[in-house]
Amino acid sequence: MKKFLIFIVVYCCFNFFLFQTVFAGTVVEKFKIEGIRTIASTKALQSELLKKLDVKIIDLNLKDTDSGWPVLKVEYDPDIISKNKIESAIGEIEDPAGHNYKVHKGPLITNAAPLEEESNAMMKFGDMTMDLKQVKNPTVDFDSSISRGKDMFAKNCAKCHGLSGNGYGVVAHGFTTWPKQLWVWHKADSSADSYLFWILENGKSDMPPWGLILSEDERWDLINYIKTIKKPEES
């Protein structure tokens, strides 16, 4: 009987530790990191974080992140370490140039609301005025126009708007605002033509005035193609 009890106790202890070690409730958290300026920065962050905390770094993704911020994926045991502790540990680490890293929490791009003074200036010198002329789409053969528009889009627009029109083109990170997601114009009717034609002709924000570069027919081809761009989930 005594041996049986000892066996039960040992068996329970073994199972408990096995559960704790193998099936422990680790979580994976993603942190957007500010302050990664060089390749040395990435190495310094990872090695210092491992020295400071008992965590496992799964990945430090520099490219292809939705926001453009590098994403550090960390696995940790929430019973031992809290998320706040990891964030403060990251904030204490210095890169080789002496700058501190930080977990990014703010908006993607800070652009405060215009001051009254700026709004007045914009009213006085344009920027908000849009002289929309009623225009009519002259396209007859829509299929060939859309095909030409697609080629032109890949050549001229995809760098900023993305090949799928999602607004995450390769150079879009340098702009003050993200380029428009073009599927908002999907199946837009003729009432949108005047606006789209004006925007293409005159440009807006960081977009150049394509009226100086493309002919009127080419702009209509682009407009016809833009109206066919679907949101990826729907296509």
Binding site: K63, I109, E118, A121, G174, F175
Partner: protein, 117 residues
């Protein structure tokens, strides 16, 4: 943006004659930066965000009470920029240059125009 930014400095010609064009220079030590960096040089250059973008988004020029010019700037602007522009001296009044950055912070510099000769 924790660092303190010096107010802009404005310089104008010493001899300004009525109805003549004169030059205005404005220097502003603003740490404008796209916030982008190349952190991976193993493939095609791909930029990632390194720090939050900061830039002067508007420069407004007042001559007296009148707003005479507005420059709309973007994240491509250099840090510590120097602006030079010309104005026609039509009245004895202060020149004021206002800078506003993307955080909505505002700085200004002004100097009074006095005709000589």
């Amino acid at each position: 943006m924790a660092e303190k930014i010096r107010p802009p400095r404005l310089r104008i010609s010493r001899r300004i004659k009525k109805n003549k064009v004169f030059k205005v220079k404005v220097k502003f030590d603003h740490p404008s930066f796209t916030g982008l960096a190349i952190a991976d040089d193993t493939s095609d250059p791909v930029f990632n965000r390194a720090i939050p973008v900061t830039f002067i988004r508007n420069m407004l020029v007042y001559y007296g009470d009148e707003l005479v010019s507005r420059l709309r700037l973007s994240s491509g602007i250099a840090d510590e920029p120097l602006f030079t522009f010309k104005l026609k001296a039509i009245k004895e009044a202060p020149i004021k240059v206002v800078f506003i950055d993307n955080f909505g912070k505002r700085w200004e510099a002004s100097k009074k125009i006095k005709f000589k000769g």
